[in-house]
């Protein structure tokens, strides 16, 4: 009897495990609204979704696969709202129209990237060209920029981040960074490295600035909410939500796409380190 029981116990456990596995695998989440796209806009999408799921009693799924994949998902009808840190490319528009999708852009926020150095560094101001030269390895010592004789440690975000994307486009004009540039994988880490390294230069979103690092004027303009929102600061860009046509008035998607206009939406955007679309 004992052996039978043992075998049977094992068998029952196995069957149970398989059944559980199958039931987990097949249990799909119902989604009323699907968001997909940029990892930069993602935190805004997440925070909005959290508020919406409570107030509108609906389920919102937010995937962060990158701007390109998000737009592709919108074109294929796999999501309702595509988050993007750039405007659509002409070929994406063409493809969308061919499939009967008419992308409409909603500008939710502005994204500004501040160039930061160690607080002990006397340099206060650089031109966009100088920053570009630093990251391309043409300037390697602070003494060439009016600072002390100290090698420059250039710190960049990883190439898959949206912050890198805007910096690469606006400051480096899409040219390659020098091989000696260090990469870190998050804004807080870029901030920490600059804070602890006297010769460092780095860049982070506006929300990460404080007194432990020094933000530089670029081309004579200090990055502030106002200069980022009106676009006079060099490293700023709009962030978009794309929908198929203008969403039906009164629908959850419509409410979601105009949520950035509300006070709550704007405080969320500011808390995530972006600049809300208001007139300062």
């Amino acid at each position: 009897m004992k052996t039978v029981k043992n075998h049977f116990g094992v068998f029952a456990a196995v069957v149970l495990a398989v059944m559980m596995f199958v039931s987990i695998a097949t249990a799909e989440e119902k989604s009323a609204v699907g968001l997909d796209g940029s990892t930069t806009v993602g935190p805004i999408g997440d925070a909005f979704a959290e508020v919406f799921m409570k107030s509108h009693n609906c389920s919102i799924t937010v995937k962060k696969t990158g701007s390109g994949d998000g737009v592709a998902a919108l074109i294929d009808g796999r999501c309702d709202i595509a988050m993007s840190s750039r405007f659509l490319k002409p070929e994406e528009f063409k493809k969308a129209v061919e499939k009967g999708i008419y992308p409409v852009a909603h500008t939710v926020a502005m994204d500004g990237v501040c160039i930061i150095v160690h607080p002990s560094n006397p340099v206060k101001e650089l031109t966009g060209q100088q920053v570009c030269d630093i990251y391309m390895g043409k300037i390697t010592n602070w003494k060439d920029l009016g600072g002390p004789d100290m090698p420059i440690v250039a710190i960049s975000r990883d190439t898959s981040s949206g912050t890198y994307e805007v910096f690469h486009e606006k400051v480096l004009k899409k040219q390659n960074m020098a091989a000696g540039v260090e990469y870190v994988n998050a804004n807080p880490q870029a901030y920490a490295r600059v804070k602890t390294t006297p010769g460092a230069i780095g860049y982070v979103g506006l929300g990460f600035l404080d007194d432990n690092v020094k933000s530089l004027k670029i081309d004579g303009i200090m990055p502030t909410k106002q200069t980022i929102a009106d676009g006079t600061y060099l490293v700023s860009r709009p962030l978009f939500l794309f929908t198929n046509g203008y969403p039906k008035l009164g629908s959850v998607i419509h409410a979601f796409c105009i949520f950035y206009l509300t006070e709550e939406g704007q405080s969320i955007i500011e808390a995530k380190g972006f600049v809300p679309m208001t007139n300062y």
């Binding site: 009897m1 049977f8 990158g66 994949d69 898959s160 390659n176 091989a179 994988n185």
Partner: protein, 347 residues
């Protein structure tokens, strides 16, 4: 004879029922299990036994199949990186990947030179081994031959706890504590560099190296040591000339296991190495930032569109890494097999 055989089951059944009848009495003696089963019970036992075995075999097989599937998918996803155009183009790609050190996959004219990444992986792996192997060996010698038994029983589990600390915790320590310390006390311009990553990886590889090589040294056994003492050798001579040579294959396996740990580690190198995609010059300058294969995959994968050239290139990096660790694994399997033989007394 034949009649007896035919009758035998009947006789047994009779005994069986007699046994059941006496069961209540015998239960007090703690013997409740009948020696014979009814045919239905027998069948059930047979079926559940075999089904259970089949189910367990399936579960075991999944992990074996997983290994093959991983190889299959990595090769499938990396193949288009080479074989998308003509044969000469493929050769040019392979040549670029193994000889060029410029990794600019997102540029308008992308370059996929993996040399700096391969060299970076080798740098941190060898750097960590140079630190971890002597330390690990001395610790293993101490634990197996010198430390009192009680101390060993305390030390070994504690060392093995090192292996249980999540790598992101090590990485956090590397960035927040060790990097600023390197800058301040050694005057490096940047603290996240090859040295930082090597030191942290060495700490992570230590428990493997200590534990496995200590096992190998203990497996040599008391007889060998006593024979050596009997010939007049001192403790040190026994250690250096008898135990270590006898345990050499196990020690090598320990080193290779530690090496695989260091080579495959991602989070720590991604945080501690600085990720600058270049080969240090001069070559011995460990205060420069480097970038490894694992960190490149982890860093780039996030926003790489599927089925793009960059995506295939990352899988090619993954395949290269897989081949490195796979060959290391084969070597260590071979050496560990030798240890097993030695400990069983064979040659």
């Amino acid at each position: 004879m034949k009649l007896q055989e035919a009758v035998a089951p009947g006789i047994r059944m009779a005994k069986y029922s007699a046994q059941i009848a006496g069961k209540s009495k015998k239960a007090a003696a703690g013997f409740t299990r009948p020696l014979l089963l009814t045919p239905s019970e027998d069948m059930l036992g047979f079926l559940s036994g075999h089904l259970g075995r089949a189910a367990l075999f399936l579960i075991t097989a999944t992990s074996v199949v997983a290994v093959f599937l991983i190889f299959y998918f990595v090769i499938r996803e990396s193949a288009p990186f080479f074989f998308n155009k003509s044969f000469p183009a493929a050769m040019a790609r392979i040549k670029e990947f193994f000889t060029d050190s410029g990794w600019y996959p997102a540029a308008t004219e992308p370059r996929y030179g993996g040399l700096a990444l391969i060299v970076g992986s080798l740098y941190v792996t060898l750097g960590s081994l140079i630190l971890a192997v002597p330390l690990g060996l001395f610790a293993a010698i101490f634990l197996s031959d010198i430390a009192p038994f009680n101390l060993r029983q305390i030390c070994k589990p504690v060392i093995e706890i090192l292996a249980a600390i999540p790598s992101v915790a090590y990485g956090f320590f590397a960035v927040m504590v060790f990097a600023p310390w390197l800058q301040k006390s050694l005057g490096f311009s940047t603290g996240t560099n090859a040295l930082n990553a090597s030191v942290i990886l060495a700490i992570m590889a230590l428990p493997t190296i200590i534990s496995v090589s200590e096992d190998a040294m203990s497996a040599i056994g008391r007889e060998t040591r006593e024979a050596s003492y009997a010939l007049g050798a001192t403790r040190a001579e026994t250690m250096v000339k008898v135990v270590i040579p006898a345990a050499h294959s196990g020690i090598l396996a320990a080193v290779i296991l530690g090496m695989m740990r260091a080579m495959g580690e991602t989070m720590v190198v991604w945080m501690a190495s600085g990720n600058a995609g270049r080969i240090p010059s001069p070559w011995w300058d460990l205060s420069q930032s480097i970038r490894t294969m694992t960190a490149t995959i982890a860093g780039d994968m996030g926003e790489t569109p599927k089925n793009s050239e960059h995506y295939y290139a990352l899988f090619t990096v993954g395949l290269t890494l897989l081949l490195f660790t796979f060959s290391l694994n084969l070597v260590s399997e071979y050496l560990l097999g030798k240890v097993m033989k030695t400990s069983r007394g064979g040659k």
